[in-house]
């Protein structure tokens, strides 16, 4: 039986990382999964929830539940942060006993971060990727601590042929993005990003890989500002690369 999934592309993913989304579809189909795309999706409400606007977040969450509630298929997303929002915070937005709460409970159980879906649902750790580059890995906070996924992305990357993984000092330390935090306290964000960038530069890797758009925007920007040619790439971009498709395809970041 063919697995079907609904793609939850997230607003940041859509605005800034279309090649990650294309890679996600390509890879899922390569693994025999059929993708559906609910066109009404916008934002899960996380930016509002994280800045305290719970009523606004609640409205967006309701829309999100309607959009993804139309199908019984599992929901897969390239963002640990947005999955964390759906899985954990939706339950807090709607009081127990309300229909939305019941719906959130049900949907939380079938919403997966991408690497989590591959490793724990498809039971795949080798996706047949080929990527002959030196990379280092940044553990995105909400993938790691929000969802408790410490090894999944590394297992998948470890099976990529040609890939050389260089350990990153301070791998599990936040890069300083933090959503609203990055613009409310830019100077602290700057200091945290500086530490992250220094650690990345010290690895000698060609790329740093992470699993959340927010980290990629922040770290990628930090590397560029530092005049470095090291690129920040999403785990999916590496996993989607094969010998036949010519490897990494992306914009100018």
């Amino acid at each position: 039986m063919t697995q079907k999934v609904q793609l939850f592309i997230t607003c940041l993913g859509e605005q800034f990382y279309p090649t990650v989304l294309e890679g996600m579809v390509t890879l899922l189909e390569r693994l025999g999964v059929e993708c559906q795309f609910p066109n009404a999706q916008t934002c899960c409400g996380q930016p509002f929830y994280n800045s305290g606007f719970q009523s606004e977040a609640g409205k967006l969450a309701k829309t999100w539940l309607q959009t993804f509630g139309q199908s019984e298929a599992p929901i897969v997303s390239p963002s640990g942060s947005c999955v964390n929002m759906v899985r954990h915070h939706y339950l807090e937005l709607f009081p127990a006993g309300t229909p939305e709460h019941a719906q959130a409970v049900a949907i939380a159980q079938r919403t997966y971060e991408f690497t989590e879906y591959l490793v724990h649902v498809l039971n795949v750790t080798d996706v047949g990727a080929y990527f002959p580059h030196k990379v280092t890995y940044h553990a995105s906070c909400h993938v790691l601590r929000g969802l408790g996924l410490r090894t999944e992305a590394k297992q998948l990357l470890g099976a990529v042929r040609g890939l050389e993984m260089i350990p990153l000092n301070g791998e599990e330390t936040c890069c300083g993005f933090g959503g609203v935090f990055s613009v409310v306290y830019p100077e602290i964000s700057r200091a945290m990003l500086r530490d992250k960038v220094q650690n990345i530069l010290a690895t000698g890797a060609e790329m740093v890989v992470a699993s959340d758009a927010g980290c990629l925007m922040n770290i990628g920007g930090g590397l560029r500002k530092a005049g470095s040619s090291i690129r920040a790439v999403h785990t999916i971009e590496i996993l989607a690369a094969t010998e036949s498709n010519g490897g990494l395809k992306r914009g100018a970041q």
Partner: protein
């Protein structure tokens, strides 16, 4: 210092952090963190212990009246006196009154967060009582005239050279930048104070209700000097510090030092059950326990934020926090700093005075991962952010109207799928003038808050078109 602030300017402080602070803080906290990790790796039952500790703390808080009354009874039973104080002013007045009754001229103090919280030192000095901090770190910051910048290492922001300069200047001795020699200077200065003081003042790490015992955890031995040499011992302790019995205390003690400094146990753990009972016994003639509420019972009314009070003040969340490590403790504007300060202060001082603090976090979650009693700090930060921007049953909103209007507008657009898709198509067009090699190096306000630190990626949404095309192709 540590007087109740009226408004904490966290953001303003972060714009001019003294350059030496992050380096000094990172050096010390990094060492603690390494040791902490070693300790955790030695204990396979660490997670079970944390859960047990969390359960113990929550159970005690939910039955706080019962355990506090038991504590009071048992302190009285061993000959001590108990004073209930509702706020900082009453707690200060109570201590001053006891001091006055005993004609106290000099007091020596054990490091205590509760007395920092109520600003006791200033009150004592104002009443003409010479007050000496005897913990080395506290001794240093008292000479500096500041409050603590870390829960357990109050002078963590200072390098040994700065301490040497301070001692040379304030103590009139030639102090070299050598920790051992500096400690010897402090010890010599304090020794005579221990001998002459009429009153010893402490806080308390725990109160064991079962036996009316005050528990003080220290590393320097000064705690024992302060609580045994003078004839009078006054302990100021928050009502949240009570534990049911010795068995539950053991669980918490196993976690405290390991989470704080990475020690298995701190050098001294003092158990004080009342004053001396017979001539020839050690200890003070009188023991007074001043129980401090100061807003804690109000926190208990809030079912989400209540878990703040589980905190056992180990400072572990500070040691691991990338924000704290880059700003230091003074940024948080009051006696308590770091992630726990960011949730404690707004609840005690009010969100009007401390509304910036709940936002002083990237929500990375590292604090919650190390907290030995599982205080869900990120969850409480979010809860308080909501209080700031939307208001709740405990406080009205205090965020500027413009911010609230902006958020409502943003959510409105995102809530209408066609409008969102329309906006998605417009963004790359409107932002084209700012684009350079796939990035936008500089953007007008308010987006410059981002671009002053790093460029913003170019808007390049085209997934929906890509998807539509390939679906059509079949």
């Amino acid at each position: 210092m540590s007087e109740r602030p009226t408004y904490i300017k966290f953001g303003e402080y972060t714009e001019h952090i003294p350059a030496n602070i992050p380096a000094a803080v990172q050096q010390a906290t990094g060492r603690f963190l390494d040791l902490y990790q070693t300790r955790v790796s030695e204990m396979p039952q660490w997670e079970e212990l944390r859960q047990a500790a969390s359960d113990i703390r929550l159970h005690t808080l939910e039955n706080l009246d019962f355990y506090l009354e038991k504590m009071e009874q048992n302190v009285r039973a061993v000959g001590g006196q108990v004073h209930w104080t509702a706020d900082a002013a009453q707690a200060r007045a109570t201590v001053l009154e006891i001091a006055k009754e005993h004609n106290v001229k000099t007091a020596v103090k054990v490091k205590s967060m509760a007395t920092e919280e109520i600003g006791l030192n200033h009150a004592l000095e104002a009443a003409g009582i010479q007050t000496y901090e005897t913990d080395l770190g506290e001794f240093i910051i008292q000479l500096m005239g500041t409050g603590p910048s870390h829960i357990i290492v109050p002078a963590v922001h200072l390098k040994k050279e700065e301490v040497a300069d301070l001692f040379t200047q304030k103590l009139g001795v030639k102090a070299p930048p050598d920790p051992v020699k500096l400690t010897a200077i402090a010890r010599a200065t304090l020794r005579e104070k221990f001998l002459s003081a009429e009153m010893g003042i402490s806080g308390g790490n725990f109160l064991v209700a079962e036996t009316g015992t005050l528990v003080i955890v220290t590393n320097e031995g000064n705690g024992r000097m302060c609580t045994t040499m003078p004839d009078l011992h006054v302990a100021v302790v928050g009502v949240d510090k009570v534990v049911p019995d010795w068995e539950t205390l053991t669980v918490l003690l196993k976690l405290l030092a390991r989470s704080a400094t990475g020690q298995k146990l701190s050098t001294y753990t003092a158990f004080i059950s009342g004053p001396r009972r017979a001539a020839g016994e050690n200890g003070p003639k009188e023991f007074h326990l001043v129980l401090l509420d100061n807003g804690r019972s109000k926190i208990l009314e809030d079912p989400v934020a209540r878990e703040t009070l589980k905190c056992i003040r180990c400072g572990g969340c500070l040691n691991v926090c990338p924000v704290y490590k880059n700003v230091g403790g003074f940024a948080y504007g009051w006696f308590i700093s770091g992630p726990i300060g960011a949730i404690f202060s707004p609840q005690i001082l009010g969100t009007e005075a401390a509304r910036e603090l709940p936002f002083a976090s990237s929500l990375c979650g590292a604090c919650a991962d190390v907290c030995p009693v599982k205080v869900p700090i990120p969850k409480i930060l979010l809860h308080l952010r909501r209080r700031v921007v939307e208001g709740d049953q405990f406080a009205p909103p205090s965020a500027p109207v413009v911010v609230r209007t902006g958020a409502k507008l943003g959510a409105f657009v995102l809530g209408i799928p066609w409008l969102y898709r329309f906006g998605t198509r417009l963004l790359p067009i409107f932002t084209a003038p700012f684009r350079k090699d796939g990035w936008m190096p500089s953007l007008p306000a308010p987006a410059n808050l981002w671009t002053k630190v790093r460029p913003f990626p170019a808007f390049r949404a085209n997934f929906r078109q890509w998807w539509a095309k390939r679906t059509k192709r079949g």
